[in-house]
């Protein structure tokens, strides 16, 4: 599903990583880990074309990332960024954002499915009608995970999905993520984490840096 070959990314004089190779198959959860600043988040961004490599290639579903294929590749990606702060007032408004996009209209937003995900992630159904500033960082993180999972994309990129969670919630998130590869005809999950308990639950761990 995702193939990264000999990838190097440099910002100015700083080299984040060189000759990175990674292959993530459908049905697999791969966790990227490593010290802060080693380029884990940048690697996720590079998959969508938001960070330009100085060498190497990225392919999704057999299509190599270029300016011409970037949109096509993003159509296959559901991305949950780290510490996302959206200018929305209501949780419901934030939830609806990806489903207003043409590419996701086929996925058909279902409140019933969303609430099932809420339940699986240990979230109260009443959160949906709250204001964004009324919910905690951990709740926001799990809501974003639920809407990322609902997008029915074959490649899911998760950036620190448990960074604001307690151990019990982390386990729920892990169980939720472990089920994702088997939904929608098989999906590949690439996630970034520093959380040891979370990493141990993934199929594979890749240490960067």
């Amino acid at each position: 599903m995702l193939r990264i070959e000999n990838l190097s990314i440099r910002f100015g004089q700083t080299t984040l990583f060189t000759d990175m190779n990674l292959h993530v198959k459908r049905g697999e959860v791969v966790c990227l880990t490593g010290s802060s600043g080693c380029g884990k988040t940048t690697l996720l961004k590079a998959v969508m074309g938001f960070a330009t490599p100085c060498q190497g290639s990225i392919s999704v579903d057999g299509f190599q990332l270029t300016p011409h294929t970037a949109t096509f590749i993003r159509h296959r990606v559901a991305w949950m960024p780290q510490g996302l702060s959206l200018p929305c007032e209501w949780v419901r408004e934030m939830v609806g954002l990806p489903f207003d996009l043409r590419v996701n209209r086929g996925a058909g937003f279902s409140e019933e499915t969303l609430l099932q995900h809420f339940d699986a992630l240990g979230l109260d159904k009443g959160l949906l009608d709250k204001r964004l500033h009324e919910i905690s960082g951990g709740q926001r993180q799990r809501i974003l995970l639920a809407i990322t999972a609902m997008q029915e994309k074959p490649l899911i990129l998760l950036d620190e999905p448990t960074s604001a969670l307690d151990p019990a919630s982390t386990q729920k998130v892990l169980q939720f993520i472990q089920r994702l590869p088997f939904s929608n005809g098989g999906r590949a999950i690439l996630t970034v984490s520093h959380d040891t308990a979370f990493m141990e639950g993934c199929d594979r761990r890749v240490v960067m840096g």
Partner: protein, 262 residues
């Protein structure tokens, strides 16, 4: 209707003394606006006298080429003003602004002069210069507000832009929330003003025409059309500017470039 009573230079001077009222309050409350007000007033007097002389000859010559040259000058000055007030990079927005202003003024202005007024000579100075002038003034103010809002919000809430793009949005879909905000901020005052027109305030064009000797019946019709053409030209120029400007705002992958001057 009678003719307009001229204002003597003595009367003009006496009238200008009224500026002392705001200056006193600006000074009393230490607003820092006194110098700007005095400079602004002096610039206004000098510029309007110079424009008065220029317009006198413009109407005297009544040459379509010279009229169009004047329109180009207005477009250039409006573009420079928009660039300086928004602090946006010249390389990104200069050409989009020029094309947006010029295309909208020509399309809407000539539609009004040719189709609505059905003038024999649509390039005549008497109608063309004031109509294009009022269009330029309104396009400039709405573009400055809208472009400032669009680019400031885009830089501040870039997370939203990238989140939408990364989840499969087209570039149009990813910038749509920012365009929406820009339109709301730039056009809400005009729409609110339209709703109370004639009740809360008598608009400038109408007053000008009545003072110039037109009947109120003619004045209101002109006022209605001025409101409609200014809103139409403003939104059209904004859309053209954004359409062309966003091509240079993002790189080949859709990432946001540095748009503000360093």
């Amino acid at each position: 209707m009678g003719t307009t009573i001229d204002i003597s230079y003595w009367g003009l001077g006496i009238g200008m003394l009224l500026l002392l009222v705001p200056i006193c309050f600006f000074h009393r409350f230490k607003t820092g606006l006194v110098k700007a007000t005095v400079v602004g007033a002096v610039r206004m007097v000098v510029q309007l006298f110079l424009i008065g002389i220029y317009l006198k000859y413009l109407f005297l010559w009544d040459n379509p080429w010279i009229n169009f040259l004047w329109v180009f000058i207005m477009v250039y000055v409006a573009t420079e003003t928009a660039l300086s007030r928004t602090r946006l990079k010249r390389s990104i927005l200069m050409l989009p602004l020029i094309v947006g202003f010029l295309a909208s003024a020509i399309l809407v202005g000539l539609y009004f002069l040719g189709v609505v007024l059905q003038l024999d000579n649509i390039f005549g100075a008497q109608y063309m210069i004031p109509i294009f002038g009022i269009l330029m003034g309104n396009m400039l103010s709405s573009n400055v507000i809208a472009l400032n809002t669009f680019y400031t919000n885009l830089m501040r809430d870039r997370q939203l832009y990238y989140y939408l793009l990364g989840n499969g949005a087209s570039r149009f879909e990813a910038i749509a929330p920012f365009v929406r905000e820009a339109i709301i901020k730039a056009f809400s005052p005009a729409i609110a003003n339209m709703a109370v027109m004639g009740l809360v305030a008598l608009p400038g064009t109408m007053i000008g025409q009545i003072l110039g000797g037109s009947s109120p019946n003619v004045a209101i019709k002109y006022q209605m059309m001025i409101i409609v053409i200014t809103v139409a030209a403003s939104i059209l120029s904004l859309m053209i500017t954004l359409w062309l400007g966003t091509r240079k705002t993002f790189d080949a992958y859709g990432c946001i470039r540095q748009v503000f001057k360093e």
